[in-house]
Each structure stands twice: as C-alpha cells, then as structure tokens.
C-alpha cells in the first residue's frame, strides 16, 4: 500500500454562467489545484466563502466531474470511473455534510437512514444482520440503539450530525470528507463532535479531509492544511508551521483576523481591505494582489507558483515576495494561552478532571 491515499493533480472546475439574455461567462471555482493526502492523516482545506473549497470536495468525490485534471484514490483514477466501479468508490470514500438539518431525509427513521448505505453496498446482508450493524454504528457515534426507531426531527443539531457520521461510516470507508462538519453547531456541542471525529479516526484508521473556515477548529483537528483563495491553494504545510510561521500574506491576514477568546491587549491587526473578487473575473497575476498590503508591480502580471519555504519541509507558499515580507515582518507569534487568575486555573483543572471522570466509565456514550 502506498503512503498516499488521495492525489489531486491540476484539478480545475469551471462553471459556465449566463446564457439566454444574460452575459455569459466562466466561473473558475477551482483552478489548478494539486495536493496529496497521506493515509491516516487529517488534511484540512481552509478558506473563506466563495474560495472554491466545497466545489473541490465535490470534485474529489466525483459528485462533480472536473473540467480538467485528475483525482487518484488508492491507485485508481477516479475520473474515468463508471457504474459499478463508481459505486465502489462511493463505498470507500464518504461525505459528511455541513447542515445536519437538511441532509437527512425527514421521512426516514434513523435506522433506515443509517441502514440505507448498508443496503446499497452490502446487498447480501440480511435484515437482522443489518439491524445489528446499525445498532453498533449508533453506539460508535454515541447514540443509543433505541434511537434507530426515531425520526431526524426528534434530535438536536449535534445528535443529527452524529447520525450523519454514522451514515458515512456505515459502508466502512477508507476516507471521509467533511464539508464544514461542525460549523452549524454550538461550541459545546462542536467540541463533542470534534472529539468524536478524532476518536473514530484513530479507532478505525480513517483518513479525514476536513473543509472548514474556522481556523481554530482546523488547528485542533488536522495534521496538514491547505489555504485556498479564489480557487487556488496559496499555502500548504503542517498545521503547526502554517499557524505559527505563515508565509503567504493572505494566511497572515486570515490568522490575525480571528478574534481570540481571551482578554487583554491585542497586537494591531492588519485588516484586509475590501472583499474577495468574483471568481468569474479573477484579477490578473497573483489573485490576491488587489487586497494584498505588500503587492508590487510584478504581482499584477505574474501568477506566483507554490514554492518551498525554508521554514519546514513540505511547507509551500505561492507568493513572489514571501522571503522579503518574512524578513520585515515578525512571525505572528499567536497570543499565549490565556492568563487566568490562580483560582480560575484551579477551577479549569477541576472541571477537566470532572469531565474525565464522567467519560471513563461509559466511553463516549450519552454525552448528549
């Protein structure tokens, strides 16, 4: 088995717009994206709305056919798959959607919802076997077996997301793609689902591809991260490297824009001017130059390719001048852990202990 489970090479997706009376054009949602995902890791794709990250996820799954470029999954060229082979791909690669309210059929019971992929992918399985398997899957994601009788509307957002995860796991996939799997959830529930995904990855040897816009969530969940802007990857590397020593000006801006939940003086932030240009009409040269505080004449004409940085192995950034910028600008040096009063620190420790005690006797069950 090779170390790489999923490879994208020069992936492009262009959508035609308009037609009829309207002016027609092309939206370059994903434009020449390449990356490798290693077996067993969590690979994150981060970017703001409209950067093409969801389109990219759908291309990987072949829910959309790329305009150009190749996706290779476990040694198979995904692009040419048809019929039975495509079904097999869908078994090995599963999707968890963002919105737990609209991605579950309200007229199917949870048992049916989780059993459906079993029926599709393992038609030889008997109904009794299937019921047993559904109960096991529900237990795995921290729900009770009797929940199989209920319908989606009877569950909270976090529980519905657990059902979505159980459904994705039903076909025993090798790779799970999560498109904003926790962004619709409240923080306390979000933490539960983040923990669950991490546990399942370790337990089942899954590879995860997480698409998200929340950088703190990404830092917590993933090993490597790719930052997207207007359909292209602008920076990629280990999470720790990208978060502590970002090289692309966009990554710097993104990181400094996050409000940190701690009180105190904050470093003056370099807010970005303006908004993301439309992917139907991307700027010439470097696509970020219209908002980049360091843009120079060359940036308007030459689109920079991803180049290796000297920070760490495997860390690449697409900027003509990142060495110059790095020499002038100190690394962000993200804020230290919150300074808490001694009493408060003791309280946090107590809380963590209490949580651990709760978790031990019944691992992961009934957390909701």
């Amino acid at each position: 088995m090779s170390d790489t489970i999923l490879t994208a090479r020069g992936l492009k997706k262009h959508f035609k717009t308009g037609g009829g009376m309207a002016k027609s054009g092309t939206v370059r949602a994903v434009d020449d994206v390449s990356f490798d995902v290693r077996r067993g890791e969590t690979f994150a794709i981060v970017g703001e709305s409209g950067c093409g990250k969801s389109t990219l996820a759908r291309l990987l799954m072949r829910l959309l056919t790329p305009t150009d470029g190749d996706v290779e999954f476990d040694g198979i060229d995904v692009r040419s798959l048809k019929g039975r082979d495509l079904t097999a791909l869908r078994r090995d690669m599963q999707f968890v959607f963002q919105d737990p309210f609209s991605s579950l059929n309200p007229r199917m019971s949870v048992g049916k919802l989780v059993g459906e992929p079993l029926e599709t992918h393992f038609p030889q399985m008997s109904a009794t076997e299937r019921r047993g398997k559904v109960a096991a899957l529900l237990a795995k994601v921290g729900l009770r077996p009797e929940h199989a009788e209920r319908y989606p509307h009877e569950f909270s957002g976090g529980q519905r997301q657990r059902i979505g995860i159980a459904r994705a796991l039903a076909s025993a996939p090798k790779l799970v793609i999560g498109d904003e799997p926790v962004s619709a959830l409240d923080v306390s529930v979000q933490a539960q689902v983040i923990n669950l995904l991490g546990d399942l990855r370790d337990e089942l040897g899954l590879t995860l591809v997480i698409i998200a816009h929340d950088l703190a969530v990404i830092r917590h969940m993933s090993d490597r991260v790719a930052v997207m802007y207007l359909g292209q990857i602008v920076e990629q590397g280990d999470v720790d490297t990208v978060f502590t020593q970002p090289r692309h000006p966009y990554t710097r801006a993104l990181l400094s824009a996050i409000p940190v939940a701690a009180h105190g003086e904050r470093a003056p932030r370099k807010a970005l001017e303006g908004e993301m240009p439309s992917p139907a009409n991307p700027p010439s040269g470097c696509r970020f130059h219209t908002r980049c505080p360091y843009a120079q004449a060359r940036c308007k004409t030459d689109n920079p390719a991803l180049r290796a940085t000297d920070v760490a192995e495997g860390h690449v950034a697409a900027c003509h001048f990142f060495e110059v910028i790095a020499a002038d600008e100190p690394d962000l040096g993200l804020a230290d852990a919150p300074k808490r009063a001694p009493g408060a620190a003791a309280r946090f420790a107590l809380y963590e202990d209490a949580m651990r005690e709760r978790a031990t006797p019944r691992p992961r069950q009934d957390q909701e």
């Binding site: 703001e48 923080v187 950088l215 830092r219 978060f243 939940a261 932030r269 309280r347 949580m355």
Partner: protein
C-alpha cells in the same frame, strides 16, 4: 451627555427568568450563550418586537434614558424604535427589503422619525453610507440589496441603524454570517462608531472570540437565566460559573496543546423539562443536592456576580473533599 441605564426583568412563560442587566452610554455589553438560551428573545422584547400574543411579560421594567418604558405600549415603542433605540440583525439579506433601493430604505427611516424634506433625508443617508465605509456611496444608494455582498449589506444595515443617532444599538449576532476577515472589519467599524457617537451597545453573540474583542461587560446566559455577569476582563481571567468554564474549555484554541477538548455534556433543557432550582444542574459536573434550590446571582465585587452555590469552586470542593 446621554447617560442612561437600562434594566429588564421579563419572564415570558418563564422562558426568560428574572434577567437584569444595564448598559452605559459608550459602552458595550455582550450577552453570550448558546442557541435557545433566550438571548434573542430578550433583545426582541426590549425592542418591543415580539409578536403580540406570542409571549406575555410576566414581570419586569425597562428604564431607558431615565424614562420608565411600558413594553406593551406599541405607540411609545414605535417612536423609539429606529430613532433612539435600533437593532441590527444576523442575516442582512432577509432584513433588507429586496424590492427597494438601499438609499430609499435608509431615507425611509430618516423620514419616519425626523421632520425633514426628502432631500435632507437623502443627504443624511448618503453621509452615513460614506461613514460606514461603502465605496462609491452615491452610486450604491441606487443599488438593490442583491447587488451587494454580505459584508456590504451588513454595513448598510449598520448605516440604517445609525442614521438617526440612536442612544442604544442592539446587535443580534451581527457577524455570524460573515467571513473572518469581513467580521474583523465590521467589529472595528462598530467600535469606531461607538466611540464617535457615545452610544451604548448590546451585542448578542455565541462567539466568545467576538466577546473578548468588543465587550466592556459580559452577561453569560444559560436557559433563560444570567448565570454570570461582570467586566469582560474578570469573566475571561477569573470565570466562576461551571457553565462559563465549560464553554471556555470547549473552544478550540489557536495556541497551546491540542489534546481532547473538554465539553459541556448533554443539551440545553427546554421549557418543558426545565429543572427546578439551578437550571444548569442537569449538565453540571459538580451538581449536588443544594442545586435543586435556585442560586442567587451573588456579587463578588467589581460588578462581577455569579449564580452558583459553589462559587468559588476550588475552595468549596476542597472543603467537601
């Protein structure tokens, strides 16, 4: 000088249970809590925007700019709404009328509350649009909402809210629907405008990062009660209530170790199964018998107050251990 204090004590079917807070001119109060904790209902009640008959105000009064307001008096509220007291909503697309040009929508608010000509209203609208940082404001005045991006629409909403120089701005999750870089711009804008005009702001949010960024005082709400309140610095550096602590430990951090996150187990109870006494008891790791009695919001000094029998946790638990 506009110095006002505001107090609200309401209990529509006990969804909101004896909530008190105040905002000073030029300061920001952040109300934090998860979905269903009653933070939006509280703000709608303050604006008198709850649909008639949907809720009854069981108790409570509101003092706004030294005047005692009757929340059920629609006429009085209508005069205040949009002039002295304004609100920004979470979803800027659904709160703007798609069929009218944005310039006209802002001017409408001016004409409704001020005795002025259409030209004056137009000029005023244009000035405020420029102030909130809309490029080519004159041209944008003639645009319809769908022609603007999310960030621009939120700026228009802010312009509309501020065009009559309100004394109090209520912002209900104003940046939740926006990207982080845009969110940073909007928060900065609200802060600048606030220093300029000395208005009080109530910011409703679930994002503790936003709270740390903008709040002077914080009220943490859980299931319709305020469980902890105080100056932002005290809430972040010296949180007392188990819910506040649980909430803060659930946030993935940008620094520090990346182990498992602590969580708040379970779900927010609904009005149908609201526990007696402390409403957090069903999810609290430290809950004991005494928690079936409602804990008072006990002051700890410097305006910091917490509703927990066990505060401060560390000393209480050590004694019992």
């Amino acid at each position: 000088m506009r110095d006002f204090s505001l107090r609200f004590r309401g209990a529509p079917s006990d969804q909101i249970n004896h909530v008190n807070f105040s905002v000073r001119a030029g300061k920001t109060l952040c109300v934090v809590g998860e979905s269903g904790c009653g933070k939006s209902v509280t703000s709608l009640a303050m604006m008198g925007l709850l649909p008639p008959g949907a809720a009854t105000i069981r108790s409570g009064e509101m003092i706004f700019e030294g005047q005692n307001l009757d929340l059920s008096d629609n006429n009085a509220m209508r005069k205040l709404r949009g002039s002295r007291m304004t609100m920004i909503f979470q979803e800027p697309m659904t709160s703007l009328n798609p069929a009218f040009r944005i310039g006209d929508q802002i001017a409408e608010s001016v004409l409704a509350h001020r005795n002025c000509t259409k030209a004056e209203a137009h000029d005023r609208s244009l000035a405020i649009l420029k102030r909130v940082g809309i490029p080519a404001a004159e041209k944008r005045m003639r645009d319809y909402p769908h022609q603007l991006s999310g960030g621009m629409r939120q700026r228009v909403m802010i312009a509309m809210a501020l065009v009559n120089d309100p004394a109090l701005l209520i912002a209900d999750e104003p940046t939740t629907a926006l990207d982080v870089t845009i969110q940073a711009e909007i928060l900065e804008l609200i802060r600048d405008l606030q220093t300029e005009t000395d208005m009080g702001t109530i910011m409703i949010t679930h994002d503790l990062g936003v709270v740390a960024e903008i709040a002077d005082t914080v009220a943490v709400m859980y299931a319709g009660t305020i469980v902890e309140t105080g100056p932002a610095e005290r809430i972040f550096n010296d949180p007392q209530h188990p819910y506040t602590i649980g909430l803060m430990s659930s946030i993935p951090q940008l620094t520090g170790p990346r182990g498992r996150l602590s969580t708040v187990p379970g779900m927010v109870p609904t009005t149908l199964n609201m526990p007696e006494g402390c409403r957090f008891a069903t999810r609290c790791p430290f809950a004991a018998e005494i928690c079936s009695k409602e804990p008072p919001l006990a002051p700890l000094g410097d305006g910091h107050a917490v509703a927990c029998h066990f505060a401060p946790l560390e000393t209480h638990l050590e004694q019992s251990a």
